[in-house]
Assembly symmetry: C2
Homo-oligomer: 386 residues x 2
């Protein structure tokens, strides 16, 4: 992302530990990273589901002290990060463990940034602005979608300014991503559907990104395959095979987008989160087919490959013909998952579109979209999705 690094491609991941029941490793992982007092970031839903109690058992087994910080909401806020930082200092913690979806993980990253870099979280919005290494960080995802457990991203909202800040830095990659697909068992069907589409969006945007390369592509394509094989079943039946499939899909999509970055869907989704506090997966689901249709002509060959990964028989079809099937396949999946399909259904007002478009155009994720839309074009995408 640094102009002088134009010719260089990069690929970096946390240590990944994956397996049914792997949550039991959480204490050993924290200890191995030198931790004695764990700052555990989570949310009330995860606590109610019982995963925090189970985690504490494993921390106690390793004689680790801990405090729990659960003041976390969807689209996590800058003041929650500040509160977490005070709490972290007060309790003299030395390792951060996030157990939850994207919101607890992003909150944990925000806290980690300020604990060692000080100042306001706003100071770090943008690319590579973090100078001091963060405390050891372990992420345990409980949703299959966000990818925050493997990514170099954190998104924090300032509700007063109505902005979502994108923080992108190698410095905020977790040390360990501990992935236990068992934790998906307590997700609601709505959340499974929305986060599943988030994973699909990550994979598609990473695959057509201008920074995609041979190390990110196989993961992006495989994630798309897995979403189309498993998401419907994961939502409807929650069977083990489907949960494991979606767990790996989310992981591979995360690996792909963390290293290839994203595109216009995310650029347009972030202002919806900032202004309407809309769930990120839902915003993506509504925007994805519309943006993909616009992007088709700018990455036709890649979308033809995506069609194949979605399970379509593309033999005898031209790339154009195959690519055109992609938005239809996405729409069909979203319809089957019973996710809202228009922005007006979820309360977006036409009057806000110019503001949304202005923020979207400036979003960091727009830079790697296969085509750079101007403000007018972005407005027309929002209108089409309305």
């Amino acid at each position: 992302m640094n102009p002088s690094d134009d010719a260089l491609l990069k690929f970096e991941l946390p240590e990944i530990i994956y397996g049914w029941g792997s949550l039991s490793q959480i204490g050993q992982c924290a200890k191995r990273l030198g931790g004695e007092r764990v700052f555990l970031v989570t949310d009330p839903g995860i606590i109610a589901a019982g995963w925090v109690d189970e985690s504490l058992k494993y921390l106690e087994k390793e004689d680790l002290k801990y405090v729990i910080y659960d003041n976390v909401v969807t689209n996590p806020r800058c003041y929650q990060v500040d509160q977490g930082v005070r709490f972290y200092y007060q309790k003299e913690c030395d390792v951060i463990v996030a157990v939850g979806g994207g919101s607890p993980m992003d909150t944990a990253k925000g806290i980690a940034i300020l604990v060692s870099n000080h100042g306001k979280i706003h100071d770090y919005a943008g690319c590579n602005l973090i100078t001091q290494p963060i405390p050891p960080l372990i992420c345990v995802p409980t949703t299959a979608g966000t990818g925050a457990d493997v990514s170099q991203f954190a998104i924090i909202s300032d509700p007063r300014k109505k902005i979502k800040m994108t923080i992108l830095s190698r410095a905020i990659m977790a040390d360990i991503s501990l992935i236990d697909p068992r934790l998906l068992q307590t997700k609601s069907q709505e959340l499974m559907a929305a986060t599943g589409i988030d994973a699909l969006t990550h994979a598609i945007e990473a695959y057509v990104s201008s920074l995609a390369w041979p190390l990110t592509n196989p993961h992006a394509i495989h994630a798309i395959e897995l979403v189309f094989q498993h998401l419907r079943n994961a939502v409807r039946t929650g069977n083990i095979e489907a949960l494991e499939g979606m767990s790996v899909a989310s992981l591979e999509a995360g690996i792909a987008f963390s290293n290839a970055i994203l595109g216009a869907v995310h650029a347009l989704a972030h202002p919806l989160g900032a202004i309407y506090d809309m769930h990120h997966g839902l915003a993506n689901a509504i925007l994805l087919p519309v943006v993909v249709r616009k992007n088709l002509e700018h990455a036709t060959k890649k979308f033809a490959e995506i069609a194949k990964a979605m399970g379509l028989d593309t033999r005898g079809k031209s790339d154009e013909e195959s690519a055109k099937l992609v938005p239809e396949m996405i729409q069909k999946l979203i319809k089957d998952l019973e996710i809202p399909t228009t922005l007006s259904q979820v309360g977006v007002k036409a009057d806000d579109i110019p503001t949304l478009a202005r923020d979207a155009q400036q979003d960091l994720c727009m830079g790697t979209n296969p085509y750079q839309y101007d403000a007018e074009e972005i407005e027309s995408i929002y209108y089409e999705a309305l």
Copy 2:
């Protein structure tokens, strides 16, 4: 690899920086890891090719001091590791940079182990026996094959005992793998061919390994595709596209095998290196088609996928029919590359086969082969390859 971790799958990589001309980053990388005095491990061939002089220029630009250690040969020896360690202490170095193929990289890893863990390199042969973190390590591969730049493996020979010791530990993974396909331009055709088949062997063995999983498989399959697309051209014409293709093939094969481990080809190749000092890529090339033919029935479905990755049209064929084409495709490639095809051509004697087989059966890499061959079966594989 730990019995208590049976249900857990792991995936870990160095930070990867890839690009034509990326060698220029070597000084910045060493500095970023906290280095002031670089211990540069290489071999006389790499020095003659000019890559060390170029590297020193970049180290000097960052005001780094350096010493060069180039007493490295094919199948690097334990006494060379010991000598390197003395030299490292003497010069008070604080970061290790390997510029070269598998031999300089494995020597560098051996030195790194003893610098911080002390004792003899023999003490660390086996799985996870390293307890102290090694000094910062940067690998710059100059051959497209070994994968040592991304792997958790190092292979060191004891020529007196005629053994090749396999050291497997997360602790010896490099911090940064800096991959500049430009460095392949000075490779001989023979070395390009042999190391290319080494990469192919890594990819095939990782794909059929009992530890293969969704995170290693896409890289293994893509590496096989790339070898069949680019190796012939890389050897014959050395054109940029082919060199880049083989560079990525080697990288992805390395990622796959470092995390899924290897199989019988490597188990049988290691004793050939130990007893005959045979080049590792050459030993693999001779053994690969024979071992694959034996393995076919134990991983038929996977070999059918490999056939597809090799570019075969497998439509309308059963898995058995597709799988059977794999050894033929390998033999054809090896013939086109004009690599020796029998062990007797390179001086192996039938009398040594019982000794070779005994050592191969005990090799760490045998444990993840899809089938566990007994000593008699291993002897018959050597005879078949003779």
